[in-house]
């Protein structure tokens, strides 16, 4: 079966939508990079600042790169779900179905049937987090090594946890803080706040440590290669011999494994926190009471 010209053009446009944002972000980085002496660990570069009432808003590399990652993922989703059939005929649809089924299985085993509708949200978290961390492979500033980005996600998850806790009734939610003993209320509040903080810092710290270690490794290899071939005349002596290939071996762990691992862990903790904190009995009781009320009225 041959594809029509129109389908080919749309496919090409969607592939461009996947590739262009990251390329443009890379170009922006190359154009605006401030040349530094040697190798140094720096935070995200700030492009411009928007004045705001309480605190100025900085639009920097992390915001631009996360937007690029978002557009890339959106293009990927559109590309994978083009002309779906009841019986899959293209490889594309088989891969898309595999992704959907895997995440649905994951959500069903970890959260139960009640939260089956969470699968798209979990897929979004997984894809966004993994691609954000993997964007460091292209030489971009990974958005997840900015604590504000991961904190934003963690606060979103915290809101979801609280929303599902409140489904058991506001009284039960407040009572939950004074459980086993009345005196333990401050500790419970601290424990509640610690959830998003630990989620945010775990993801941020893991990605950031990878960035710091690879930068230190690059500078160390520079010194080592100048010690080995420094006796050569001219620019040959400054040739960074060891910086070819060696960082790639370490990048397998620090970029690929660590990035994918942290995405999985963030999604896993989201699922477990939401499902475990959901007050099932109280929710059922409330539903029962509502049903009885409706019956009495009728």
């Amino acid at each position: 079966m041959k594809k029509s010209l129109k389908a080919r053009i749309v496919d090409g446009l969607l592939i461009a939508m996947m590739v262009l944002p990251l390329t443009l972000a890379l170009l922006l980085k190359i154009l605006t990079r401030v040349p530094a002496e040697g190798i140094s660990v720096t935070g995200a570069q700030v492009f411009f600042t928007v004045p705001m009432p309480f605190m100025d808003m900085h639009i920097g590399e992390s915001q631009v790169n996360s937007l690029a990652v978002l557009i890339t993922l959106f293009g990927f989703c559109l590309f994978m779900t083009r002309d779906l059939k009841v019986k899959p005929t293209s490889k594309r649809q088989v891969i898309a179905e595999w992704i959907v089924e895997t995440v649905q299985n994951l959500v069903n085993t970890n959260m139960g049937e009640r939260f089956a509708a969470f699968a798209p949200f979990i897929t979004a978290i997984l894809g966004l987090s993994a691609l954000s961390s993997l964007s460091s492979m292209l030489g971009l500033f990974p958005p997840t090594s900015d604590v504000n980005v991961t904190f934003g996600w963690a606060i979103l998850v915290f809101g979801l946890i609280t929303y599902y806790k409140l489904k058991g009734g506001f009284g039960n939610y407040v009572k939950g803080y004074f459980e086993p003993l009345f005196i333990l209320a401050p500790l419970n509040v601290i424990g509640e706040i610690a959830t998003p903080i630990s989620m945010a810092f775990r993801h941020f710290g893991n990605v950031l440590s990878g960035v710091v270690i690879s930068t230190l490794l690059a500078s160390g290899l520079q010194v080592a290669s100048s010690a080995i071939i420094g006796w050569l005349p001219g620019f040959l002596g400054e040739f960074p011999l060891l910086r070819f290939g060696v960082p790639a071996v370490f990048s397998i762990y620090f970029d690929i494994f660590s990035g994918c691992m942290q995405a999985f862990i963030f999604a896993m903790l989201t699922m477990l926190n939401i499902a475990n904190n959901f007050p099932e009995e109280e929710y059922e009781k409330r539903l029962q009471r509502k049903r009885e009320k409706a019956l009495r009225k009728a």
Binding site: F201, R202, G205, N206, L208, S209, Q262, I265
Partner: protein
């Protein structure tokens, strides 16, 4: 006088950063080692449960790593953020 004070601040920040990650890495190291050892035992006893044990172990390792990551974040703050903040406070005195 001011240079001596700044030097002491810089030195103490570097020392604190090293001690922070160094001591903070002991706990997660022992904890993760225990987790991996126990899961190896479990896989040895029941090789068919390898998949479930491995994924649970990685999950537990990630949670056990949290305190190490906290100390790492504090170290990075001590190296990159704290010196300039403290020296600015010193200048304004």
């Amino acid at each position: 006088m001011l240079t001596i004070a700044a030097a002491i601040i810089l030195g103490c920040c570097a020392l604190g950063a090293g001690l922070c990650t160094g001591i903070g890495a002991i706990g997660p190291g022992i904890g993760e080692g225990n987790a991996v050892a126990k899961s190896c035992e479990a896989i040895g006893r029941q090789p068919e449960s390898k998949g479930a044990v491995t994924s649970t172990m990685i999950m537990g390792c990630a949670v056990a790593e949290t305190t190490g990551i906290y100390s790492l974040v504090i170290s990075i703050l001590l190296i990159f953020v704290a010196p300039s903040t403290f020296i600015n406070i010193l200048k304004s005195l």
